[in-house]
Symmetry: C2
Subunit: 435 residues, 2 copies
């Protein structure tokens, strides 16, 4: 049996490795368009910052780990142009053909760079190669503009400022990080703007090149910078899947079931190109996040090799560190919940990260979203300079377990003065959510 995996990122390599473990007799081949396999794209901001000094540090394993030790064929620098489902054959970019019995599509996602920017040579960041290119692009830059105010945009801004650059963030919105509740984000946004120049409501942005610089024009003013990075979102790399008639949603995301099987019973998909079940709404959703990709890949690999694993879905937990702040989301915002027809409300809490008398404490801002009538927890956002990320993880576990606010209130989160007040902000939020 020939198993072929398209894509050597987190999902693809997890799938290939798991498949080989489940059935060592399988022939497993990974076809990767780029030069690298199994790398930590989440580490690219730190490479740009200078904490990580070489792309090699972002490789989880050397290639030999997969080829020699795990017995996987790895073809790099080669992409797949056509999936011929009828004949179970792939046509590669070098025109050669590869037969498959089982296929796993793990082609990931790419930056969605507006044409007006890409025409100027401005790029986004996703693959390790794109990180290397950007590293070179900004090496001599003193000022860098980031177009986009989402998680990646603000994370990059933080990394580049800490790496010594002067940074602009350009936002189409009223303020940065739109998904982030205005109440709990106020202190963070204020500090961010002390270190980064933020240009908001810039949907009129025009970028031009002039004398080796980029000039950003918005709201009647001009800003000259040495380099520009696009961080305006991502799109799934699913053209070959769409062309082959594999079922995708309106955004082009490959629809998968709990076994990570696509609409073709010989083809699985995993990672940033594949759908997941949103465990809050119960509906298909897209959570292109590294840990989810890893787990999806493992499940796809096991099933493609004849095993049986089920990926139950995810709640979209997202963590980021921006300057000294930890920021985390899990589940839905009230707005998202209402769009989905859920009768939701939000509770806002400002508490402290440690007991009142304990040194080194910081404010913890929490929003908790619950469903009226049932009391089920639907989502939470936490921001703090101390302990926000793992607080969000505790809530994520509770949401995934479908706890109500009342059940979460009684959850036996340990208390000790260095780690929280006796009524932790999370517990207070759960308490208020019950009322």
């Amino acid at each position: 049996m020939d198993l072929v995996v398209i894509g050597g990122g987190a999902a693809g390599m997890a799938a290939a490795s798991k498949a080989k473990r489940v059935d060592p007799s399988l022939s497993v081949t990974v076809i990767e368009a780029g030069r690298y396999v199994s790398y930590a794209e989440c580490g690219i901001p730190y490479f740009l910052e200078g904490i990580v000094t070489s792309p090699d540090q972002l490789l989880h394993y050397p290639l030999e780990e997969f080829t020699t030790r795990r017995g996987i064929n790895v073809i790099t620098g080669t992409s797949v142009n056509v999936i011929d489902r009828k004949n179970r054959v792939l046509v590669l970019s070098n025109s050669s053909k590869v037969k498959y019995d089982r296929l796993i599509i793990a082609t990931g996602a790419s930056p969605k760079v507006p044409d007006s920017l890409s025409a100027l040579g401005i790029r986004g960041i996703r693959s390790l190669e794109s990180g290397e290119i950007t590293h070179n692009d900004i090496a001599k830059a003193e000022t860098v503009a980031i177009i986009g105010d989402g998680i990646l945009g603000i994370e990059l801004a933080s990394s580049l400022v800490l790496g010594g650059k002067k940074v602009f963030v350009v936002s189409r919105h009223k303020d940065i990080l739109k998904a982030f509740d205005s109440k709990i984000g106020a202190a963070f946004r204020e500090e961010f703007k002390q270190r980064v120049s933020v240009l908001t409501e810039a949907s009129d942005l025009e970028v031009t090149r002039r004398n080796g610089s980029f000039v950003l024009a918005t709201s009647g003013r001009e800003y000259a910078v040495d380099a520009v990075i696009s961080a305006t979102g991502i799109v799934p790399n699913t053209k070959i899947a769409v062309d082959a008639g594999i079922a995708t949603d309106s955004r082009g995301i490959i629809i998968t079931d709990g076994r990570m099987l696509t609409s073709d019973p010989s083809i699985y998909s995993a990672g940033d190109c594949a759908s997941t079940t949103n465990l809050v709404t119960g509906k298909q959703d897209w959570h292109p996040l590294a840990q989810i990709s890893n787990k999806m890949g493992r499940v796809a690999g096991a099933n493609a090799a004849g095993g049986r694993m089920v990926f139950p879905g995810s709640v979209g937990t997202t963590l980021v560190k921006v300057f000294d702040y930890e920021i985390g989301f899990t589940g839905l915002t009230e707005e998202q919940a209402k769009k989905d027809g859920l009768d939701a409300k939000t509770i806002f809490v400002k508490g402290m990260s440690k007991a009142g008398y304990y040194p080194g404490k910081h404010p913890v801002f929490v929003t908790m979203v619950t469903e009226n009538v049932t009391g089920r927890m639907l989502g939470a956002q936490v921001v703090s300079k101390d302990g926000a990320a793992w607080r969000v993880n505790a809530v994520a576990a509770a949401i995934q377990a479908r706890l109500t606010a009342e059940a979460f209130f009684y959850t036996d989160l340990g208390y000790s003065p260095p780690f929280g007040p006796v009524w932790d902000p999370l517990i207070v939020a759960a308490d208020l959510s019950m009322k």
Copy 2:
């Protein structure tokens, strides 16, 4: 209707406050043996360390918050000698009598100081007064011995060393912190012993006073110290309850149901003197911990006032910071599980607290205990200098929600390099527990 609460600690004041909120027409009286109400006994080690400079800082609220603002009668410096259940009357230490319609016993727990030590004037720590006395006892001491190697003993040792003392910890066991798995505790124990003199297997300990010092004799050697603190466990303060014929277990813990009702339908109990349902075993247990006491108190107060709240139970999550280490337990150890008839196994994992390329990472040691066949998570222990406490809390939420290791493996804990590797040690432990 007269509601009387015996004990003004966390549980008692939470009960009184909640009762008054549920039914403002209630007459609510708290009778507290000591001088203080509503204080943070968990802060006493920091008072001894010098981080907290006055006991007042450990009061959650000034007395007026309860008396003037919340309308609660508070009697301090007075204990209850007799509960006359037939006549619903309490006989106080000043011989006066107080009538009750509903009673809440929240008398807490006291240090279990061996007679041989208390005869020498050696005390334990639990109440704020006991903290003040110890603060005076050790004020001029250069060397302090702590008898007992449990959570409180090692926490005190850390505080006193950081406060400038030379400290001995005396243990009856082979090593300190018996409940703590030997594999995951090795690095911690080694560092602890670099800063604290640990005398182990000291069940032959004899303490005497000589020329204003205390002399500890064990294993044929003598150690002279300026002060000694007993930290050999606690006992519930339930003599009056036992005398009144209220049902207690063999340890004297008052047996309560989910409403915190005792065997007497007019009498509730909450806090360190009351039992809880261990949510792992389903059996009555004792978790004398501050946050649990607070929640129990609130439930007891609501129900005593005619409301309806249910305390579901607890899993005994315990966190402590000792020098740079965060140490946490939740649920059962394998040994405890087996004693309880559960078919349990333990997985041990050493991982890192952040992504491999991210600076400031530390090892994270995890044990995860699961039930064979069902895969249900029964307990976990985590120790690290980075992020152990809230990792334990995430597991605590999962255990309380009765997740299996498989469900926890798929839990959408957020990933970002500053907060964990892409396969967090918790996720790895869950994965290995499935095998």
